[in-house]
Amino acid sequence: MNFELTNEQTMVRDMVRDFAQQEVAPKAQELDRSAHFPEETFHKMGEMGLLGIPFPEKYGGAGADNISYMLAVKEIGRACGGTGLSYAAAVSLGASPIYYYGTEAQKEKYLVPITSGETLGAFALTEPNAGSDAGGTETKAILKDGHYVINGEKCWTTNAQYSKTVIVTAVTGRDSQGKNIISALIVPTDAKGFTIRNPYDKMGVRASNTCELILENVRVPAENLLGDPKSGFKQFLFTLDGGRISIAALAIGIAEGAYEKAKRYAQERKQFGKRIVNFQAIQFKLADMAMEIELALNMVLKAAWLKDNRKPFTKESAYAKLFASEMATRTCNQAIQIHGGYGYMREYGVERMLRDAKLMEIGEGTSEIQRLVIARQIGCDSL
């Protein structure tokens, strides 16, 4: 057993850290205020190969592992939660399903543009009436004359306005037991009848592009079906398992950012003639933060390692996501507490982190759903 990162993993982390601190962090505050998507940053990330980290070179990727990818997400998240969310969504939700389930032709056509940074990617699962219960998907795709005709509505799809294609889940039929068959389809965003808007005013991750999708008789060729038509559901469960590790990594990044700010502030701020870091009450908060961040990171690295080594990681990714996201909310909340009234002011940047962190408990499966996954994994269903 070896807890040390490899040379490459360290280099990726350091390189992304440098980039994120110099190019992303200085913009975070303004992006949050204006809810502006940092397209320029993503161009640079594409040039550096960040959007293709965990994919092989032959698909335009860097051929690095998932551990390196998680370290990269963490570093971007430490600088800006919203930029981090769009980054994680592009790789884990936009590119991954095509890499894992696409045909060679689909990878060539749809994966390479994402890994090379030419476009982002998006995955539209959630609907106004189907959130945690993805089985309740209402969007329908009917196969007619070699084309799927899609009708329905999706909500909160990350990155859709900056993607050339979106992966859309839809009901394509019923199985022998009468249950809906849900499949995934690659839909070009410029298809006729496809409307994409971003009408949401979000609490946090405001730099991230969050979209509403309306599909009215959108026609895509049958070959745009992604993976096995019958196991669309299984496919997106696997996709979400992977995505969860990245959301956990993002949560850790945000928490690290808040912890570092709080630590610095505690060393500067004086009350009762002392630096507040000398008060044990403040020290204990910082001790808890440091410990929880490290524990969460260990879980993320383990889950990513399992994925890299092609071992089951469903339970571990749920552990990582659940613990890291709740930890991030706690940490950011305490970081504000350490800042006192200043922490409540936008200028100090920690209140933004709390708003950003909260999404981590909701996106890609709420904390409740993570507990359901874990309970199932530890065999509660069969007790």
Partner: protein, 256 residues
Amino acid sequence: MNIYVLMKRTFDTEEKIIIRDGEVDKEGAEFIINPYDEYAIEEAIVLREAHGGEVTVITVGDEDAQKELRTALAMGADKAVLINLEELEGPDHFTISEAISSWLADKDVDIILGGNVAVDDGAGQVASRVAEKLGINQVTTITELTIEDETVKIERDVEGDIEKIETTLPLLVTCQQGLNEPRYPSLPGIMKAKKKPLANVGVNELEMNEKELTAKTKTIDRFLPPPKAKGKILEGDIDQQVNELVHLLKNEAKVI
């Protein structure tokens, strides 16, 4: 074009530095490529992109310096050489430059690029000594470099003014801020770096005699500057303040 870069691994002077028994505590320090050497690496890659050839990055250090060499390879250098002088007692700028020169002695050198100074000791000696030893032209603190055939046009920074120089290859230059914007290593670059050659060279593989191996200087001690004392605000009317100031400068600071 045969391009060589002299690179040093240094501790990050922007991070906290702890000194124990006259040595910088390696556990606590962050290590980086000397920032001026990053300009040298970048310029070397730009030269290769324009003129073809190969970039070899050389460092003198211990095993840990492999990390910085790999970073240089990830930025785009082709080869790396680690000269390990651990066997020697306290190598100084002289011994280090002798070691680099003897490794370079049988190489066909067109240009060598180094940093202006290293941010840790600020000596700025090694590169210039190498040029002297190899008997090639050298220009320090350059901010612009153009090579056409054998002719080299250079702008160098002289205390804020610019000096324009023309010289010829083979040549050694040291790089100053303003020369370029060093690139980030790309992800594919990082992955490719591990497959690029990194040679380890020990003292016995260099043809160095006793005199060249013996340091000319010895570091007696290292210490941090004393923490800045609290400032003093003088009180009273102007005359009183002036008198107090003169008194303090005479008797406390003892500068007049």
